[in-house]
Each structure stands twice: as C-alpha cells, then as structure tokens.
C-alpha cells in the first residue's frame, strides 16, 4: 500500500518536474539576448608581448599530397610541410594562443560578435592553423578545394561534430556553447590537416603572428593570469596587473622539445 502510494506521488512529482522543465526551457531561451552585454571598452588596458623559444625547433614533416592532385598543384614553389612549429626570425614563435585564464569577473558577460570567424580549407590545409572564437560566435568553415574534406571537431566541454564538404564553395557555420582551450579540428580524409580553436567567454585573446607578437586590448582594470598555449611546446602563464588605459608587456619563452 505504502509502495503504491509512493509510486503515485512519485509519478505526480515526475510529471510536474518534467512539465516545469519544459516551460523553463522555453522561457529561458531568449534570456541571453535580453541581458545587456558589456562591450569591451576601447580605452581599456592593453597587454602586448613577444613569444620566443629556446633550442632548436623540430623540423616540420613534409606532407605527401600525391593523392590530391588539386591540392598539390597549389604548392608550385614550396612543397607543403606540417605547421607544428612555425618559427619566425630570431626564434619567434607563431601560432601561440594567448588568453586570460583567470581574472575576468565571472559576472561580466560579453556579447559574441555578429561576424563569424572564418576557417578556410585551401590546398588541403587549414587557414588559420590556430584561431580563437567567442562562445556563441559563428565559425564559418569554407572549402576552397575541389576535393572532399570532412571537418571533425574533437571537444570535451562542447559537443563535437563531424560534417563533410565534398566540393569547393561549400560553407558550414557552427557555434560553440562552452569555453574550451583547445578544441581540435581535424580532417580524416587528409590525416595531416589539423587546426586548433580556443573558445572563450570574453574577447581577450590573441594568436601570435609570424614575428611572435600578440596584443590583447580593451581589458578592464584588474589582475590577470595569462596563459600562452602552443600545440607542441605546452603552456606557460604570467600574471599581469592592468590599470586604466595602460599598456603592459608579457613575454613568453618556450623551451623547444
């Protein structure tokens, strides 16, 4: 008797819980848009820096594209190599993702830009090789090759995906719902194709250029833990305090391995 009563009561609870759940989902959906987003101040603080490495950079492996004549034809002068370590003059290190790991108040909400970040598949390689994106911002994946690419995102905090683009001119737009450093992007048709995507809840990130330099702007005053991430050399952190519109420097040096 008691068991039956419990089942009935439990069932009623379950029904109520489920229906409430539905309602709250429906109601919650437009909420983020209604919330006023903080626009990063143009006049905020700036962190710049240069990224270098010590030691000898490992040689990037050559890519054999003989299976894809259309891609191979795009490399008339320089045969394609992998982009594991892209070094500039004086041991400058490109393709390092630099972001604020800690220090941005959790309450601050930043609106994702309406424009998408573009990831181009050209010559059977991803351009760019390392990129940043905000939560909710579109990642526009474009195929500039007349061959089949599949784009597989391997993620832990975000849902993964794996879609195909068999011809030139195809476009797919995807978004990411949670911060994650890094999401790995791969093409399984061309085992050498990979890219790394840093997903952030704020716009305070950058990727180091060919000269190893980066710049993060519009920071509100505060003390920040900055992390620099490299696919081969790992991560490094630095603590930087920014006040007003001042510009601070944070240089990183990785040890080649």
């Amino acid at each position: 008797m008691t068991a039956r009563l419990f089942t009935v009561v439990g069932g009623m609870f379950l029904l109520t819980v489920c229906s409430k759940g539905d309602q709250s989902t429906v109601r919650a959906a437009p909420a983020p848009a209604a919330q006023p987003a903080v626009t990063p101040s143009e006049a905020g603080g700036t962190i710049t820096g240069k990224i270098k490495f010590t030691g000898t950079a490992p040689r990037n492996r050559p890519i054999d594209m003989s299976e894809e004549a259309a891609c191979k034809a795009k490399y008339k002068t320089n045969p394609p190599v992998e982009e594991t370590v892209v070094a500039g003059p004086a041991n400058a290190l490109a393709n390092v993702f630099v972001y604020i790991r800690e220090g941005v108040p959790a309450s601050a909400k930043y609106q994702a830009p309406a424009t998408s970040v573009v990831l181009d598949q050209n010559g059977c390689r991803y351009h760019p090789h390392v990129l940043g994106i905000m939560v909710g911002q579109g990642l526009e994946i474009v195929n500039s090759d007349p061959v089949l690419h599949n784009i597989k995102a391997i993620a832990k905090k975000n849902r993964p995906f794996n879609v195909s683009q068999p011809s030139a001119g195809m476009k797919t737009v995807r978004t990411f719902s949670a911060p994650e450093v890094m999401v790995s992007l791969q093409c399984n048709v061309h085992g050498w194709m990979n890219a790394y995507l840093g997903v952030r809840p704020d716009p305070f990130y950058a990727v180091s250029g060919p000269d190893g330099s980066f710049k993060i702007t519009g920071l509100p005053p505060g003390t920040y833990t900055i992390e620099a991430w490299h696919e081969k050399f790992g991560t490094q952190t630095a603590t930087v305090t920014v006040a007003g519109t001042e510009s601070k420097t944070a240089n990183f040096t990785f040890a080649a391995r």
Binding site: T16, K20, S24, V147, N162, V163, N188
Partner: protein
C-alpha cells in the same frame, strides 16, 4: 516550490540509477569501466574499444552530428548490440526494467545529458524512394564517388581507400573504414534504412562524417542520398553468408583452374568460414582483421584446386600502413614483455589438413596439431605470392617445411581492390602417404584455415583461425544414379497396377457370387 521539485527530481533520479548501477557493475563495467570511461579490465583486449560514456559521444544515433542520442537510440544499441564489435545485444539477457535502469545510469556518466538545452531531436529520415534495378544503383555509385566515400571505403568499397591507413577515432585508436561488402557487420545495422541514417547522422567519435549538410546546400537531393545507401547495400549479399560444414569439390572435366580469375570458378559453389582471433596460445591476438574466408574447390580426378578469397584492406607489406600497425600494437594489451616494433609483415594464409584421412571421429588438435600428432599444411605468403610451402605443423609455433618440397603445391594469387584471391593446387596422389595427405574422393577430409593481415600487426601466433571443417571430393557420378529412379518409378507403377487389377478381380468375383 522549485526546491521541492529539485528534491523530488534528485530522489527519483537516485532511485533509477541505484538499480541501474547494480546492473551496470555486474554486466557492463568489465569492459566499460567502473566510471564509464571505457577502461574496464577487458578494454585493452578489443578493437574497436568499448565506449567511453563520459564524453556522451555515440556513434549510432537518430540525431544530427554532435547531438546527444535519444533514449531510443541508446536502447537500440543496448538491445541489439553493435554488430562487428565486442558489444553483444542484451535484449534477451536482461529484463526490460534492467535495461531501462542501466540506460538511465549510463547517462549519469556525462553532464551533457543533464543539460536541458541539449535535448536530442531525431532527424526526419523519410522513406526510401522506390525504383529498383540498375539505374538507381548507377546514380548511387555516381554519388558514392562525388561525395568522396571512396576516399576511405575504397573504389570497390572494401575499406581500402587512400585515407584508410590513417584513420583514428577521437581517442587516437586505430579504426577501419567499414568493408561495405559485409553489411552484417555494420555497427548500426545493414539495411538500406540503417545505411541512410548513418549517412545523415555520421558516426560521432569516428572519422565518418554526417552528410546532412549536403542536402541543405543542395549538393545532392534526398533521393540521391538514398541511392547512395541503396548502392552501398547492393555491395553485400542479400543474406549474411551461412556457414556450411562441408566443402563440396565437384569433379570437372576441363583443365584444373590454376588462376584465381579462371572462368571455371564461376560455376563452383563458395563456402564461407568465419575466422576469429587466436586467443589460446601466447602471444594471443584479439583484433584479427580477416573475419572470414570464402572457399571453392574442384578436382579433375588427378589434381585438386582450392580457391580461397578474403577481404584485406592492404597488400602487405605496405609502408602506408606502418603507422596503423603502431597504433594497433599500442591499443591492445600484449603478452610480450616488450612491445613489438611495427614491421612490414606480409599477409599469409595457411590451409590445414590431417596428415592422413582419419578413419574415425578423431582429428588432430585444430590449432596446428601437436608434437605427437602433427598436421599437414599449405602455407602461402604475399612476400612470395606465386609459391606455397607444404610442411608439417607440430603445434602453433613449429612449422617444418617438408624437405625437398614434397609433393608440389602450386599457388597463384591476385590482390584486387581490397581482396586476396589465392588458388592452391596439388596432385591428389602423393608418394609420401604417411605425412602428405593423399586426397581420396567420397571421403570427409578435415580442413581448417588460418589468415594473417600483416598490415594489422599480424604474424606468428597473432592470426585469425578457424576450427575444423570438411572437404569432400565428389566422385564421378555413376550410371546407376540415373537408372535407379527410373527403375523405382517402373516398379511402383507395376505394383500399383497389380493392386488395381487384384481389387477389380475380387469385386467381379463377389458380384458373380
């Protein structure tokens, strides 16, 4: 109010999952691990490895790429199992209640299922368009090429495409592109509908992408994508191959077909035999790449020819597959104290007979005999594909070629788009009747098969094996076979007439009285 609901929800969910946990720990944790991370005790003895539930990434879904599976999707995998993998179906092993409970428990391994914004929504798959015959299949083949299926699955669909050797799953484990000629091994089922669903949803966590976007972008129509599914289905036989124990070798009047592509083979029946990993002797092998061999046999009264056909994604040794070999060796638990280095091993085949036709039921040990009771074998290797070696195996690790070569075993082999076709020939008679089996017609001759895929890391004791089957060389059909039915019919007729005559005779006799 909300807090009351929360408490109720927590209570209810703990109730569900306590029962589910008990089922899980008893039946699932051995492979999937106590914490659902796919790292149970048995995990390193299987490829593909067991699902890691913590990421909530599932291959077999009715939802778009990246979405969670529905409960019905998960229940399907629990009920039916995943064909071609170590995952069995549980429908007949666990009660409905147990399966529902364990499903609820599996979902607790990932926080994604608790996120109400991620509620899975099944795609609308519609129905397969009508039309049959060559044209729909031709359309299917056209799009098979244009959407790039052949890149991994190969030109003829045997999983031997140019990208096949590089394929890895999300965890970096080696993964094969499916051999599309073996639909009975497709993880998500082998019907046209199953195949179409996999094309739409992709197999998350694997290299197989979703092709749904192509419909939205009008690269192809829904009907055309269905045609691809129908084409893929057409590559497999209507029914999975049935295992028949006895290979009948008809006696043919023409020349012995020594070439694998001799037209005489078209008339001979093919017998399929499943192979499994050799897990009896160290070093054991849990991930055999050759899942079965198809065998035909004919004889001329003087000689016998055996044609063995099997699908193999690579013509080993092939340097393109070396990295794959490394991944296979790294993924599997090994009996060796030091891990083997990937090497360019060849593909191999062994056909095994007893040294003489046994008179009773006793046969030598199926796994390559023993020291006291050896077996007679023909061994072929892709390293010298035009020859075969005959010898005696005395246990799995000892093969002694017959000195001087013995009675010649001929070999011809063709590798063609992911398939080996090997013909082995020998004279029926032999001068060494003690150890080199003399073939006789009308007798059940035990036979067994062993295969190695070098590009899957197979060599030595790491191989795929079968049990004993039989080979029967048909005798020439004697004339009495044709005469006896005629005689029997004539006799029946005569007896019938006699009965009728007697009955009539009796009736007329009574009437006279």
């Amino acid at each position: 109010m909300t807090s009351v609901f929360l408490i109720a929800a927590v209570l209810l969910s703990t109730q569900d999952t306590t029962a589910g946990k008990a089922v899980y720990q008893k039946w699932c944790a051995g492979c999937h691990g106590d914490n659902g991370a796919g790292d149970g005790a048995g995990a390193r003895h299987m490829l593909p490895p067991p699902r890691d539930f913590t990421g909530a990434i599932y291959q077999i879904r009715s939802t778009a790429s990246g979405q969670l599976p529905t409960d019905a999707d998960l229940m399907r995998s629990i009920d039916e199992g995943l064909l071609g993998t170590a995952m069995p179906g549980w429908k007949t092993r666990l009660s409905d209640r147990e399966r529902r409970d364990v499903l609820a428990y599996i979902k607790t391994f990932s926080t994604f299922f608790a996120d109400t914004t991620l509620r899975p929504k099944p795609l609308d798959f519609g129905k397969a368009p009508g039309g049959s015959g060559v044209d729909p299949l031709r359309v299917g083949r056209q799009f098979y090429d244009s959407i790039g299926c052949r890149k991994c699955h190969g030109d003829q669909g045997r999983g031997d495409g140019p990208s096949a050797p590089t394929l890895k799953d999300d965890a970096g484990h080696p993964i094969f592109a499916a051999d599309l000629h073996e639909n009975w091994r497709f993880n998500g089922g082998g019907t046209v509908e199953d195949i179409y669903r996999r094309l739409r949803t992709g197999l998350d966590g694997t290299p197989m992408p979703s092709f749904s976007d192509l419909l939205e972008q009008k690269f192809l129509t829904d009907t055309e994508l269905w045609r691809v599914a129908q084409y893929v289905r057409s590559l497999s036989p209507d029914q999975p191959p049935a295992v028949r124990d006895v290979i009948h070798a008809p006696r043919i009047s023409g020349a012995l077909p020594r070439s694998p592509d001799d037209s005489a083979w078209r008339a001979a029946d093919a017998y399929w035999f499943p192979l499994v990993g050799q897990v009896i002797h160290k070093s054991r092998w849990f991930a055999p790449a050759v899942v079965g061999v198809s065998v035909q046999a004919v004889h001329t009264g003087d000689s016998i020819a055996l044609r063995v056909v099997w699908d193999d994604r690579s013509q080993s040794p092939d340097t393109a597959w070396l990295a794959h070999v490394g991944r296979v060796l790294a993924a599997l638990a090994s009996d060796d104290s030091t891990r083997e280095q990937p090497t360019g091993w060849p593909d191999q085949l062994a056909v095994q007979f007893p040294v003489a036709i046994p008179s009773g039921m006793e046969r030598p040990y199926f796994l390559m005999g023993s020291t006291s009771a050896p077996v007679y074998q023909w061994r072929w290797s892709s390293a010298a594909k035009g020859t075969a070696v005959s010898g005696l195996a005395r246990g799995i690790e000892r093969f002694d070629p017959i000195p001087g070569g013995g009675t010649v075993v001929g070999a011809q082999a063709v590798y063609d788009h992911g398939q080996w076709r090997v013909v082995l020939t020998r004279a029926l008679a032999t001068s060494d009747t003690a150890s080199q089996l003399p073939f006789r017609t009308g007798r059940a001759i035990p036979v067994a098969f062993f295969a190695w895929d070098g590009s899957n890391g197979e060599h030595g004791t790491r191989m795929a094996i079968s049990t004993w089957y039989f080979l029967a060389l048909d005798e020439p059909v004697p004339a009495r076979v044709f005469i006896s039915p005629v005689l029997a019919m004539a006799l029946t007729l005569a007896l019938g007439l006699l009965v009728v005559w007697r009955a009539q005779h009796k009736t007329s006799f009574r009437r006279q009285q």
